[in-house]
Symmetry: C2
Subunit: 218 residues, 2 copies
DNA sequence: TTATAAATAAACCATTTGGTCAATTTACGA
DNA sequence: TCGTAAATTGACCAAATGGTTTATTTATAA
């Protein structure tokens, strides 16, 4: 049993360690030795499971993305109406698991590397594509196509900006403040309605419940 | 005349070279040797005018900020009404001098460094404070205080997000697309009006004229 | 023209980087 | 119990990093 198994386990361990290091020390401060230290292993062994530093960091970022993705899927499964789907996507990005200073640091580090490291570009592309495809459906059912496209872009931009700020502010950015901003952005094309308000409340609630569940499990 | 003068000249030269290097190679790829090469000088001499790499890069970013700041001042001087002032601020951030892939790269690099390098934090703080103070005045004269504060935050966030995307997209992000997004954000609290439309058109025009002027000069 | 101080750069240094390799430990199958 | 293949690591390497020191050029003031 210990043949292929241990390989997968180690790869996951080291990817997670790399991600933690990325959060703490940024791209600059994330060296192989530091990741190895974080994982409690030798540098040589880390490099035994990943051919290069770039491969390791790519894995780290895919890992982080997978976490976010899983959360999105769960929330979206609970969403029944278009409005609920929209808020599911937004709440995913504001969830206490993700919307944190250290997590934002890691992502900004990724962004800084994108222009120079091709494998990072692919990851970014995937992330954007997923967010867009999750938003565009429900938006189309509430708006004419052109406005739906515009709102999808504007919301994505806003989420990016919020994460950036979350990473930069010393004290981070409160979840509530971020939520208010996104709601304001929605107002641009979508008037307040009872449907919307109810969907918002429900998805916030679902997100809260999910957060408390994963807290208990850890 | 060549006493204190040359010192100032060299410092400016090297800061500009550092900024150029930052745009091309990111924070990771910006080493003292590379900056020296870009400046056509020796590494030792660069370090003669800046005590450390960190000091050099801080100067580079202050230099970049000064460029943006100068443009903002010129545009704001032309702005007479609240709406014109708002669009002056926004157009500054979309100006062809600034809203470019390589420039965005440099700023993202700065952002990635902020959590770990204290002098970068100060620069970021200054930039945010200036933008906010430029926006909050005209917004207050069009909106109740609470909404003005919110819109100031939302606009800042949107600009951040747009720059991020501009830096990440292979092909960059077109000025027009970015402008559409910002206009949509404005719609959230401020209805379309003749005043607004006129102000928008005028500031776009002023910005265009400015750009063509600085093109001729170079 | 010469003395002097600033500007510049070549050589050097300690440290760290990503990465290799050969040796050793571990653990499972027969 | 033993042999073998995988897991793990310490030692090592060349390259690059930020930074220092020392020597040399340059230019100015007297």
């Amino acid at each position: 049993m210990g043949r292929r198994n241990i390989s997968q386990i180690r790869r996951a361990e080291y990817a997670a360690a790399a991600y933690r290091t990325l959060m703490k020390h940024g791209l600059q401060g994330t060296s192989l030795s530091r990741v190895a230290e974080e994982a409690g292993a030798s540098k040589a062994n880390v490099l035994h499971y990943y051919q290069s530093k770039e491969a390791l960091l790519s894995a780290a970022l895919r890992y982080a993305n997978a976490v976010l993705c899983k959360e999105a899927i769960i929330l979206l499964r609970e969403a029944k109406t278009p409005w609920e789907r929209i808020y599911a996507v937004l709440e995913t990005n504001l969830s206490p698991t993700s919307f944190r200073t250290d997590v934002a640091h890691a992502w900004i580090s990724l962004c800084a590397g994108v222009p120079h490291i091709t494998s990072y570009q692919r990851i970014q592309t995937v992330i954007y594509a997923r967010m867009r495809s999750n938003l565009i459906g429900p938006l189309r059912s509430l708006l004419p196509e052109q406005d739906a496209n515009l709102m999808s872009d504007v919301l994505t931009t806003a989420v990016d900006g919020l994460w950036l700020r979350c990473g930069l502010s010393l004290d981070g950015l409160s979840q509530d403040a971020a939520r208010d901003q996104l709601d304001a952005v929605l107002d641009a094309r979508l008037p307040a309605s009872e449907d919307r308000q109810r969907a918002r409340d429900r998805m916030i609630d679902v997100s809260r419940i999910m957060a408390s569940m994963s807290n208990n499990r850890s």
